[in-house]
Symmetry: D2
Subunit: 243 residues, 4 copies
Amino acid sequence: MKDIQSQVDHRRINIKNVGVKTISYPITVLDKASNRQSTLATVNMYVNLPHRFKGTHMSRFIEILNRFHGEIDLNAFRTILEEMKERLEAEAAHIEIAFPYFLKKNHHPETLNASKYQCSMHGSLQETDDLELQISVPVSLPLLEPLAKALPRSMGHWGVVFVRVRLKRFIWIEDLILLVEKGVAIKSQNVMEKLHPALSVEALTIFLAEKLADVSAIQWFSVTVENAGQGYSTFAAIESQQK
Amino acid sequence: MKDIQSQVDHRRINIKNVGVKTISYPITVLDKASNRQSTLATVNMYVNLPHRFKGTHMSRFIEILNRFHGEIDLNAFRTILEEMKERLEAEAAHIEIAFPYFLKKNHHPETLNASKYQCSMHGSLQETDDLELQISVPVSLPLLEPLAKALPRSMGHWGVVFVRVRLKRFIWIEDLILLVEKGVAIKSQNVMEKLHPALSVEALTIFLAEKLADVSAIQWFSVTVENAGQGYSTFAAIESQQK
Amino acid sequence: MKDIQSQVDHRRINIKNVGVKTISYPITVLDKASNRQSTLATVNMYVNLPHRFKGTHMSRFIEILNRFHGEIDLNAFRTILEEMKERLEAEAAHIEIAFPYFLKKNHHPETLNASKYQCSMHGSLQETDDLELQISVPVSLPLLEPLAKALPRSMGHWGVVFVRVRLKRFIWIEDLILLVEKGVAIKSQNVMEKLHPALSVEALTIFLAEKLADVSAIQWFSVTVENAGQGYSTFAAIESQQK
Amino acid sequence: MKDIQSQVDHRRINIKNVGVKTISYPITVLDKASNRQSTLATVNMYVNLPHRFKGTHMSRFIEILNRFHGEIDLNAFRTILEEMKERLEAEAAHIEIAFPYFLKKNHHPETLNASKYQCSMHGSLQETDDLELQISVPVSLPLLEPLAKALPRSMGHWGVVFVRVRLKRFIWIEDLILLVEKGVAIKSQNVMEKLHPALSVEALTIFLAEKLADVSAIQWFSVTVENAGQGYSTFAAIESQQK
């Protein structure tokens, strides 16, 4: 067999990534209420390999992941990335982890005691490290009086808010979710009470961007608001690098 | 190798089905406006084989399907079932076909000129034949005045209506869709104008069941209404054998 | 408002089901190794209501579910059904719960320490109760020597086995999974070593049906084997009522 | 109401995108065999709006799309982008369109006469325009002799190849698909005949990258090969800017 590798380099084919993806992995995450929350993650792990490309020991990714027994926090994230970079002799290491996060809200017996939010974290380590956190928050319009006085019924699914952040300092996922939900509640209550002409994706995006811009721990954010419509959705998105 | 087949029969293991599934197949369906509509179907075809079970010629299913060049109507359906039963020497033959159906609604340049509805047909042929048609119709609440006067915005996705029918006589998919949409429009308009306390899945299910019971071509129907809520959906279902 | 209910009865519209569905709910299940396993369930709960149909207290379903704090075993299942039947004054009660189940297999550091299997349970209570358990087991072909001597690589995803059982006596989910995996291993090893002409869905279905028929705790079963092909899948299915 | 817009600008919140997404739209695409092929697209259209953000006329996106009556080719793509940029007074315009593409292969009556490939195109227009084409090609291992002599059976789903290209000159989707399939066939045939130790994602990625590097019409490409494994997939990716 010819030396394929040198040919490839000659043609300036830049090797990019090699790794494992869609690993189903039970994890526990620490939540603000100081409880360990069990959830189920989907994990991708991959590295940039500058010189060698064949014969990656794919099992090493699993070996590194297994060492943490599913206890994933920001420290674990950093350590996993360092081990990947070192053991696979990589230029850069990446880990992506997506999981549903359950936020306990009340103890009323007749309502679900926790709401589900899809979260993900993407960590990279090259010379410096980088961490991006994403949450998605479902949006429902509030019931109007006198509708709300009737049996509990739903106005359906209005849409969803996606927030991505890079952080200067640690903040809890809970606090990010609650910031979004509070912003949505204010805007949608106004709309349903007809103080505003309509709940538009643009107005809600701007409103949430203002709230996120006030959080000093956030270094960069993007916020996207989607409204489910008939046959298609509409959306607006803002991103901002904070000072 | 021992004669597995006779053992199996001895143990009263009843052979059920063998076939092909999730075939992606472009088809054309005839719509009421006399146009052939191109769409993309997912097809399952299978037979009940009473005595022999090994060595089914799976390719025969494809061969039979190919003969119709994707022109699928009720006559084709019947012929496909007969060929399957005969060529595979089967006790019974089944075909399931699911496809998005586009209903042209208006020619206003600023709105989508067709709405999408997920449809499916399930045909069986044993001694007699049987055909069940299913449609799903998305439900959105209408915008309240003065919201409707503002820029066009959506109240989101309230839920979905599933209707399944067995027919005495042919009816168009269009007519079934429009019957559901008209029923939903009446009930939801009432609710939004606050003549009723809330749009409930039970009330809408009963209302639509009454409308379906008035259609003389329908022999049997079931109607299910689902309302997307926060964290879960609620639903109600009725089925009825018509006289 | 007119008395819709009596009209409906007059037309012989039979009310069927009302309930809640797609509740995302973290649960713990007891596994054979005597550990409580945390997983994430999707729950449907519904009842048959013979006389009254409007005004179901949907929140009662949630209230009943909450009382078990996510600790779901067969006893809890039975109690939930009884409470649903009684508190909602129903003719029959149903609960469906689907969840990924993780089976620990080895402690080799370089392999995933648990495999994921999608499971579901469907319980009903009318005059008598009924419980059906379903598992799905992914199937991969074994690597041939000398392939297996090389770096660990996968032959891909051959297909999946679905087993549904009704039980006379309790059996562990683990034991059902292992019975299927052992059967698949025997048949596919034979095929890859060319003792048999090919791994066919029919032969594997019959082989697994024989193994299931030997389990005295099983009252009824169905087994379906699917093989992912190019453009479509092939499948075979057997069901059997045991003596 | 306060002037939110000026506040936002003050805080350096950079407005990004506004538009419509997940429009289901029947389209026809021209294929190499000079036939118009009917398929079903999912369309996203959005613009970057530098100064104004509220009150986007979302219906204008639909109006522009409707004007082409679903006849989408590269000329239509360019014209749509120009109209979006002009009519929405945008800094940049984007359109993403994803659709299954059916490639006719043979006229053997016992095999599906067309294979399905998921394709997408992403066009942008700012000062200059940019077009990226993506195809995904499913990979199955060939049957070994004497397996291939038996009834046609499948080795299952080995994985998938994703190719993305930016072009200097037009090339047909067909030619890109066939290049990948031919490359996969050569490599996987070799593996199954045991000339090579195993079909690895790395070796197949490099092999396909070499083939793509030989196509003079391609300006930039990325190729990713995924192998479905037990519990997770492995993958390798290369991207290359051509001279």
